[in-house]
Symmetry: C2
Subunit: 189 residues, 2 copies
């Protein structure tokens, strides 16, 4: 299995997959994904041996893209509140301005097409962000919600908030701070 020639085509296929799956669900056909990337269907299978391989590569691609966006806005704040708020804002902004990425990533997260191996490989590349969301917070007054629950609540609230910001952008700031307030006032002891 030689390495694919063109990184461009690989990216084009991944972004086409994200866009089309956001609209049609994970069941979107390989034919339409290839067409969207401007290549033949057979070419898709040169880059991703099976559709499952594509799912896993897409999960990795989207997660790393999100992580890169978060890192850019992770200025060091004095207060934990400020730090978490910056993370929150960056997350919401990424979701709103990459809506099809966001939608597809959410579907992949709950899908059984993404293997545990892929998930843990990606997670290990995100340890710096986890640190803020979790290790740091434990030492600073966040409530003792059972393991992982605070993370999940953060994600669930962010997902809801993004939906509302997209649907009604005029009130975007209101949703953003309301969503954060729910998370924060409910999480702090």
């Amino acid at each position: 299995m030689a390495l694919p020639r063109s990184e461009e085509k690989r990216i084009a296929l991944l972004e086409s997959a994200a866009a089309i799956m956001a609209a049609q669900g994970l069941g979107a056909s390989t034919a339409s994904i290839a067409r969207g990337a401007g290549v033949a269907e057979g070419t898709l299978f040169r880059y991703f041996a099976t559709k499952d391989v594509l799912y896993n590569a897409l999960y990795t691609h989207l997660k790393l893209d999100l992580a890169a966006a978060l890192r850019q806005h992770m200025a060091v704040h004095d207060s934990l509140d400020g730090q978490v708020r910056a993370l929150w804002d960056a997350y919401i902004d990424w979701g709103v301005s990459n809506l099809s990425f966001f939608k597809t990533l959410n579907q992949l997260v709950v899908s059984d097409k993404v293997t545990a191996e892929t998930r843990s490989t990606v997670a290990s590349q995100l340890s710096d962000i986890k640190c803020i969301a979790q290790a740091c917070s434990d030492n600073n007054g966040l409530t003792a919600l059972p393991g992982g629950f605070a993370d999940a609540v953060f994600m669930a609230l962010a997902e809801t908030t993004i939906q509302f910001v997209v649907r009604d952008p005029a009130n975007g700031q209101a949703y953003k701070s309301a969503g954060f307030r729910v998370f924060w006032s409910g999480s702090v002891r």
Copy 2:
């Protein structure tokens, strides 16, 4: 098109669909649904003319089942806090003990297979519950989150909470009250 003979078979088909779709997604085949209900594939199409009709009937069935469960536990409390908490507990309990119903309903809610007509017909049968969750709360101190946001936050937190209770039942009560606290302390002014 005469009415189907046996209400039993109709229910069996709906419950089979809910169970199989919870495991395999909405794309589960009509063949497997019929097999799960113990009838031939052709029989499914005597009860539901197309798969889309089945989706809509299933949405209605599950929503009404949930509503019935909520009504049973909607004792009148003196405080708004108590009333909403009772609603929260009933919702979580239903999700936990009808997990496949819950999972399938969540997929149907975001699916475009369920028509606006079905949604509004069902909603009109749930007005008494909406009253507590919304009309009542507006008059009693819930924060002025933009329209529908509080509802969505409630649902998102409940979904997350149910996942954790199912995954780790020993700490069920802890998740349940933690989830409610996030909702409540973030929602009250």
